[in-house]
Amino acid sequence: MTRVRQVAGAFSVALLLASQAFAGGFQLNEHGARAMAQGGAFAARATDGSALYFNPAGLGFQTTGSVYIGMTAITPAGSFLGPRQKNPSEKTTFISHTFTPINVAVTSPFMDDFHVGIGVNNPFGLGTEWPDNWVGKFLTTRVDLKTFFITPTVAYRVNDQLSVGAGLNYVIGSVLLERAVSVVSVALPEPPRVSMTLNATGVGFNVGLLYKPVEEIAVGVSYRSAVTIDAEGVASFRPNYAALSLPAGPVAASITLPSTGFVGVAYFPLKNLELEADLQYIGWSSYDELAVEFKANNTTSVSPKKYDNTFMIRIGGEYTLDMLHFRAGYLYDRSPVKTEYMEPLLPDANRNGYNLGFGYDVTDHFSIDVAYLFLKFDQREAVNTIPENSFDGTYSTYVDLIGVNFGYRF
């Protein structure tokens, strides 16, 4: 059973990443470059297609239909010093890749007081890759994730001050995971490597309201439900030493992604200045463990996670000068991962994000938004890591993101 247990542990982060929206894991804030440039503090405004993520009620205050399309280039980089179990000063650096998720939103007014929209987020190929033969190869060598969030949404403008909205989130994801399998007993020409590909689907919903008590202030509250993801796929081993009875074949896993809530307050001191601060809560404690079932030998491998509920703070603002909008923001993202549960699969830590961006209204209808986010993870020491990992050391990570969106208002 030991082998099987070791094999499946790596699967965890993928499904975690399946929801772009969540803190922890490689959650990044690329839901439209306008929001991204402002620390993602947008729930009390949600004035463009990214409302589909931040607050569906935001659609209710939009007066025209729109198309909002964009892409983000994400380049994580980082290193690990350790493990202390071997050499506390040995350094291994991620293999760096640039990932390019896209976001698309199409919205339209509907009847008098309704506004509908549908969007797709496609975070293409987020992941972590370590060198094939690094000392942690039995924990992970590669994780690669693709997801789609399809979000049909409707908002209703109750009155001049209040709008409410709701949407469905249909989640499609696929993940690739690779690592080496340790066979501690007999000598093998090379350790078998497992490669697992799983596809997952799930459904959730989100609701929100946006309230403007006076012209200068807006309050936004939104909630995204937990999403239960059912994933199925295949595990293959190479070389597949027949006599080791490695459980190649179908695999299945199910996890529940946590719910999240936003509360935001926006303040408009001047006609051309917008400021907002948001608090986001993420109920990660629902992610207690990841269980992967290997149908080939009817075993289930359980990897403990024991995530904590956590929060994010987002602050941002936008200053408009003619057709230009200058944006800046800051976010603080608290990690849900307990120190003892840290693993190279997902080198998580509290993060500080520094955002800058600008928008340019090319014409009355057409705009371009550009955003830059530098996400610096706290350097974090994994100590007394759980026996399944036994991998103490220091992680240092940062991520560079640059996002571009094109918007067209009808």
């Binding site: 690990f80 071997k86 000063s89 340790s182």
Partner: protein
């Protein structure tokens, strides 16, 4: 247009921020080191565990992974000037047994599995010409007394020791007439010393039959104290690291067969075995549901005769006549008149004797080490922990199970190469703590596993022919 300048500034700032973000993440690596210590010569003193003996033989591809050789490698990585660590190499497949063939066990057949020597021609010593003592002075079969014994080591190849490995390791009396004098001649500044295991293992592995008692604790205490005194006197400034003795219950030689026999006992039938000293009708009754009675691995070939009217044990041992009361028409092992033999069993008293003896030995070792400023590696505590919960390391899990656990070699007593790695890491942990070094640890999976036709890890009852244990008996035989 007036917005152009701010636009350009914004673009430049963003671009600069993006490229400036390419900072090197993470603190600088410092590297392993020796702290304030210098190590220019490291010598290892001990028995088969120190020599790198594995799977019932001494052979180069195991000696390469002896724990002292692994420690020497980590010392080198930390900057020690140790260009070589010389060992008494014996080419593969290794040392010969009584039949003149290589005694090393291999996995012969997956069915079972069947484990034993393959009848190969033995190897030869390949490092005899070294013009000084070896750095690794581990002699399989040595006891604490041997450290100080000044009688001819060449004579130990004959009766009563019948152990030719003293000659292999010590070679020439001109180098010194025992491990202590040869070690001292090398003037090491670091010594590892691990003796005492054989003072109890001879008793234990023979099922408490021969010798009929372990070395008495009082004798052990005196001998161990004298040995460390002599070592310290010869090398007043050397760093000395000693290790203590593991419990027999962590060694798969003792713990493998019992749990495997138990499910095959017919309902309502318990094992009937001879208690300590019984030679005829047996009084021992063992349901084998716990570790109060242990079955030695030497019994593996006899498990197939359980429940059958068999006299094979008495024929194999060359009894001229059956002992009084024995009736081999009775089902072997299930009837008090044809019992499972004393020599293949550690009954509750024998297990207790081992436990109290080892506890006493370890107390002596701790006291002696403290008095002579030597560091102690608590191998006993460490292996008890591994037995209880396994040993996890960078995503790998090792246990004390026979073969599948990764730590023990095919004789069920000596560590495998990865087991030697774990032992080396425990020594390194102690050296780092006691001497202020920052040695890095050995990457366990970079060491080789047990050679096998790539196969299932042993799951069934291992079958090892009884003759295959002759070498181990020689190592621990009566003196």
């Amino acid at each position: 247009m007036k917005a152009l300048k701010p636009t350009l500034v914004a673009v430049v700032v963003l671009a600069a921020a993006y490229y400036a973000g390419c900072v090197d993440a993470g603190p600088a690596a410092l590297g392993p080191g020796l702290g304030n210590a210098t190590v220019t010569k490291y010598v290892a003193i001990g028995n088969s565990l120190t020599a790198g003996y594995q799977s019932n033989g001494l052979y180069k591809s195991a000696q390469d992974y002896s724990f002292p050789n692994l420690i020497a490698g980590q010392l080198r990585l930390a900057g020690a000037n140790l260009p070589t660590f010389e060992q008494p190499y014996y080419s593969d497949p290794g040392t010969p047994g009584a039949d003149g063939k290589a005694s090393r066990y291999e996995i012969i057949s997956l069915a079972g599995p069947v484990i034993g020597p393959k009848g190969l021609a033995p190897g030869v010593p390949t490092n005899l010409a070294l013009a000084r003592p070896y750095d690794n002075l581990g002699i399989p079969g040595s006891v604490v007394f041997d450290l100080l014994d000044t009688t001819s080591f060449l004579a130990k190849a004959g009766p009563p020791r019948n152990n030719p490995l003293f000659s292999l390791v010590l070679r020439n009396p001109a180098f010194g007439n025992n491990m202590l004098s040869q070690a001292a001649a090398l003037r090491p500044d670091l010594v590892t010393f691990w003796l005492g295991n054989n003072d109890v293992l001879g008793y234990a592995t023979s099922g408490g039959a021969s010798p009929a008692t372990p070395t008495p604790p009082a004798t052990f205490t005196a001998l161990y104290g004298q040995a460390l005194d002599a070592l310290r006197a010869a090398l007043p400034n050397a760093k000395i690291v000693v290790a203590n003795i593991p419990d027999v219950t962590v060694i798969p030689f003792f713990t493998t067969l019992g749990p495997k026999i138990r499910p095959s006992l017919p309902a309502g039938v318990t094992l009937r075995y001879q208690k300590h000293g019984e030679t005829g009708v047996a009084t021992g009754i063992a349901p084998l549901t716990d570790n109060s009675v242990l079955i030695c691995l030497t019994g593996s070939a006899y498990t197939t005769y359980l429940g059958r009217p068999s006299g094979k044990w008495y024929r194999d041992k060359g009894y001229p006549a059956l002992p009084p009361g024995i009736d081999t028409t009775q089902p072997f092992g299930f009837h008090p008149q044809n019992p499972w033999p004393d020599a293949l069993t550690l009954d509750a008293d024998e297990v207790n004797t081992c436990a109290t003896t080892i506890a006493a030995f370890n107390a002596s070792i701790a006291a002696a080490a403290a008095a002579r400023n030597a560091a102690v590696v608590d191998i006993n505590g460490f292996l008890n922990g591994v037995k209880a919960g396994g040993y996890s390391w960078a995503g790998q899990k090792y246990t004390v199970d026979y073969v599948s656990g990764g730590l023990f070699s095919l004789d069920g007593v000596h560590p495998s190469s990865r087991g030697a790695g774990i032992i080396a890491n425990q020594f390194i942990k102690t050296m780092n703590a006691s001497f202020g070094m920052t040695l890095s640890y050995v990457d366990l999976m970079s060491l080789p596993g047990i050679p096998a036709p790539v196969a299932k890890a042993a799951g069934g009852l291992p079958v090892i022919p009884p003759e295959a244990f002759a070498e181990l008996e020689m190592l621990w035989g009566a003196r």
